[in-house]
Symmetry: C2
Subunit: 176 residues, 2 copies
């Protein structure tokens, strides 16, 4: 099975630490993702500090495992680094997905927590991590070694596939 087809579901993390070398590998994977015009409109904050991680569940409702994750990576977008405005969201998403895939390859479990475009979350993470105004907190990836390795393989859905010209399977089309 191709690596890209597998994901580990995480119910809890072990106490095994995640080395700086592994974090470095994850950051290299993130920065290897494609970006619009190769403009790389991102920053990454490596969050190991327990006190900081403990505060995350107070601001994000799906973050109960973040205090138990040895490390979390905050991916931030930065439109001031971009000529082609408006594309930083997808560039940051590709970087986040690369972190998840590299984590999987290295035997880690990863949880992608969405932040942007929920304004309240963006502001809360901005304050917690001191993110300057030119950058936008985009996603938080909680990382560690999973206690149990549950494998999830998303299902193929043929109803979402169209050939050459979209012939809608049910809903109304926009014929002009």
């Amino acid at each position: 099975v191709a690596p890209v087809l597998l994901r580990t579901s995480v119910n809890d993390f072990t106490e095994e630490p995640v080395s700086d070398e592994v974090v470095d590998g994850l950051l290299r994977a993130a920065m290897s993702g494609p970006t619009t015009g190769d403009q790389r409109p991102w920053h990454f904050v490596v969050i190991r500090d327990q006190a900081v991680r403990n505060k995350v569940p107070e601001i994000h409702r799906f973050a109960h495992l973040v205090p138990r994750a040895p490390v979390a990576l905050l991916v931030c977008g930065d439109e001031t680094l971009q000529r082609d405005r408006g594309f930083w969201v997808q560039d940051c998403a590709a970087a986040t997905e690369n972190i998840l895939l590299e984590a999987e390859r290295r035997g880690l479990g990863a949880i992608w927590l969405g932040i942007y475009p929920i304004e309240g979350l963006v502001q809360a993470f901005r304050r917690l991590i001191n993110v300057p105004q030119h950058a936008v907190p985009f996603s938080l990836v909680a990382l560690g070694y999973p206690v149990e390795r549950g494998r999830t393989v998303s299902q193929y859905d043929g109803s979402r596939v169209h050939i050459d010209i979209w012939r809608d399977k049910g809903a109304s089309t926009c014929q002009e």
Copy 2:
């Protein structure tokens, strides 16, 4: 080197066709990406038709290789499939990145052409592919076997990495 660290730059495609089986593998990879709340707000249009591909360079300025690519995949978002509105862009970006990585793994070359959020491009692809109003053309991935296999490895940029709390390296911060 981890698969996620490598990308093939594509200067031209050979005439070798891309089989339905390979396209199926790419679509499975795309649909294996994480989506917000597992809501999978995407559709995929498999574009093989030469006449359709020939029209793409007329509407997208970086699309000169699309007529020479045996197949192109149009990734579309669909907010009506989503409870958590606003997250479909990043879900579609993760799906697109999965297509690129799976293509790389299979020896294909892939070119990610951005469409959304450029409104003129969105409308032009909507007309060309007959995309209904509930969906939004997001990206087009041109695929084929590359004539030359140039490897690009994006460089690590330590200035984009911050530890625990963002301490800005130059720009002004938002201390409150």
